[in-house]
Amino acid sequence: MLEAISYKVLVDRYKNKIFSYALYMVKNRMDAEDVAQEVLIRLWNNMGKFRLPAAGSWIMRTTHNLCIDYLRRNQVMQQRSIFIDEESEERIIDTDKGNRPEIKTQQNITLDRIKAAVQKLPENLKSVFVLYEIEGFKYREISTTLEIPINSVKVYLLRARKKLQEDLKEYATQA
């Protein structure tokens, strides 16, 4: 009973983080859904085998490992882009309903451009960058999750920021 309650709390807290991380890593909604489902099933099967305060690291490490497995199994998936996903297309089409469609469209395109730039980052830089900047994890948590030293986390984060800036410099100067 207690396990079921703890599980529900963990799912509510981490489901979006798991899905977002998987989406950045595998770059495909269907695969990201599969990863998220697999992670949550493993979480259910392993409830009670880890301390609850360490659940976040356990969940994200499992997510990361499953994403890497997916990428290794299907290299073709790496070529896909988030621009292809249905949600992005719908957002651009639906902008006529908004008050300022041209601004909304521009915002969505910028957001998608940034997401695509993040996805283009090398895996090691991307995992650190997404966990820190988008998912809000601390250096220590990322170090535990990805099983790398804290200094490496800091170095990867810096490299990711520089690389992203290079990719987005046109937008940075235009905006």
Partner: protein, 173 residues
């Protein structure tokens, strides 16, 4: 921008990036802002990184589709039921409760009786006899007191006196 960066020390660039992403220390923040006032290249790089940082901080988390959670809910619910309805679990719980009750009951019945020495028993008997003798003595004294003192003096005498008065009244009448 690449040309400008070449003129800026790599360590300074790292600090500029940290300041732009708002995770630098207070001293570094002051240092970089002062440097940005003096050096327009530093200021430009700082602003460019800040713009990107703001956009990145505003990226929302993608929402996990309901279908994932729904399919998960069905699976875990089924497992929950089987966990609580498994006959083996019920049998184990009932066995545990019954055995606990039996053990507690047996422990209560098997409480050890105290052992006394012969001298203690003799002493106890002696004390009981003495107590009974005292009680016997008290009863005898009470009997004597009732027979010799209370009946003749406190009860017999007033009754005798009352009867005499009644006789006198009747004979006199």
């Amino acid at each position: 921008m690449q040309h400008k960066r070449e003129n800026i020390d790599e360590r300074i660039l790292e600090k500029i990036i940290s300041v732009a992403y708002n995770d630098a220390g207070l001293l570094d923040k002051i240092k970089i802002h002062l440097l940005a006032r003096k050096n327009p290249d530093v200021k430009k790089i700082l602003e460019e990184y800040k713009r990107t940082a703001i956009k990145i901080k505003n990226i929302p988390l993608d929402e996990c589709p309901d279908s994932v959670i729904e399919s998960l809910r069905i699976q875990t619910r089924n497992e929950n039921k089987s966990l609580f309805l498994k006959p083996a679990y019920i049998f184990a719980i009932i066995t545990f409760i019954i055995s606990t009750i039996i053990v507690v009951t047996l422990n209560q019945n098997n409480e050890e009786k105290p052992h006394y020495t012969k001298a203690e028993i003799e002493l106890a008997e002696k004390q009981v006899k003495e107590s009974l003798a005292i009680v016997n003595n008290v009863f005898k004294r009470t009997e004597t007191l009732i027979q010799e003192e209370i009946f003749p003096k406190r009860i017999g005498k007033p009754i005798h006196k009352s009867l005499s008065i009644i006789n006198e009244v009747l004979i006199g009448g």
